[in-house]
Amino acid sequence: MGIDKKTVEGVAHLARIELDAGELERLSSQLEHILAFIDKLSSLDTDNVAPTSHILPINNVLRKDEPRPSLPIEKVLANAPSKQGSFFSVPKVIE
């Protein structure tokens, strides 16, 4: 399975990354090269193999549902590129 410029453009939109023409050209050909290498995986028969998404036999780690101290708002907002009162401020979303 290959990857063409149109697919890379679509993926870049999904990943919310703008690419200029030069980047699109370069990254497309590099990704094609990398995927051609990765395609060697298709030579293996994996029909009866269970996937491993996680190496430890840990499931549903829960903690007690009790209140704990959280970070103060001013500390959380200290890194914000833009803020208003106790909120992160972003460009207008609703027209």
């Binding site: 999904l14 990398i34 290498f37 914000a80």
Partner: protein
Amino acid sequence: MDLHKLTAHALLEKLKNKEATSEQILADLEKRIEEVDPKVNAYVRRQKSESRGQKTEKQGIPAKSGDSPQFSKGIPVSIKDNICTDGYNTECCSKILAGFKPPYNATVIDKISAAGHGILGLKCNMDEFAFGSSTENSCFGATRNPWDLERVPGGSSGGSAAAVAGDEAIWALGSDTGGSIRQPASFCGIVGLKPTYGRVSRYGLIAFASSLDQIGPLTKDVQDAALLMNIIAGYDPHDSTSIDIPAPDYTQDLINDAKGLKVGIPKEYFVEGLDPEVKAVIEEAISKLKGLGAQFKEVSLPHTEYAVPVYYIIATAEASSNLARFDGVQYGLRAKADGLLDMYKKTRQQGFGDEAKRRILLGTFALSHGYYDAYYLRALKVRTLIKQDFDHVFKDCDCIITPTSPTPAFRAGEKTDDPLKMYLSDIYTISANLAGIPAISFPCGFTKNGLPVGLQILGKPLAEGTLFRMAYTYEQNTAWHTMKPRL
């Protein structure tokens, strides 16, 4: 007094005997950094404009802000730029995190503080978001190898490794997702350990691939690695993937005796692509260990050739998801833009370097509709096969021995134009992350050109002790770890 040349355990002895103070150690270390770091660039030098707060980055700082007496008790630890330090810049060497000062400490930092040690205010250089094997993908410029300034220190923890090798750090922390502690340790002639997945808390480690990442020590000798593991290992309720089993005292495994240990030599690691000089050095190290009582036998890890492709699907898929949080809203860079979507896209275009973009795009592709089964799901299945290979070998072996890297340190710029070539330099280290098992790299000789070669030992889950015993036995009977680069 040249305190910077000493190991942490030697310095702890000096502190105990009142032959030195923590202030003297820090002052001596800072002098050394000032002397040699302009050549090595192991530490990040941030521009004033990138630093929003008042705190100075130059001085040694206590691990906990406002807790200065702690510092004078210990030996400063150097920290990779992706491990959160409360109130001090932590930017993953990426433009997108410019100016970021975490509002909390990573668990490992609090543990260092609780053990009576401080951390160095300067953070260690790295490949952006740990994406790389050469520390050339840093927005603060590349780190150079102290053994040969024309060559790379390895990566992504290249700053941590070069700092320790160049005596600009006493000991250091790095992170290892596919070899990022062990490969630079090998290139720089020092000791590096990737612990069992879940042994060290990842809380406060800025995530790259959450099912593979582990924090671990980079040190001048095996004893220091055991001491640092004693400090950082253990269960952490803040990390849901942390293992709830008490960590042992790893110094109990500093045993100078390999008798009775059964070691597997995987035939798939000694094939074409392995540099002949590296091969010769490794074979000599194996015969040395034979003389010290270890028993060797050839074993097979048949799915080894699939480890790199599996890794570059799983790691990039997880990275594409983890890095979605860098969008210009809560921290770091925000690009000037027309509307919210445009802000996301421009911020990420301007903030991420080339390798970060490549990996995010590859991971997004592997997870996207129509490709998920062919790439991501298939990779997860082959990961099972790779893990089973190890389970099988560990039925009658205590550990496995391999080269850490197929080559010694390569030249700066040699692989930057060919991402795939760069990826293949991790061919011997990636499997340990996929299988979640511990692995150590330690120096075992030099090439004719004077470049260090590292030996890797992989162990069963939670068997860090076996790795320490093997490495300690080898180290106590050789002198490679005492060699220093001329800087």
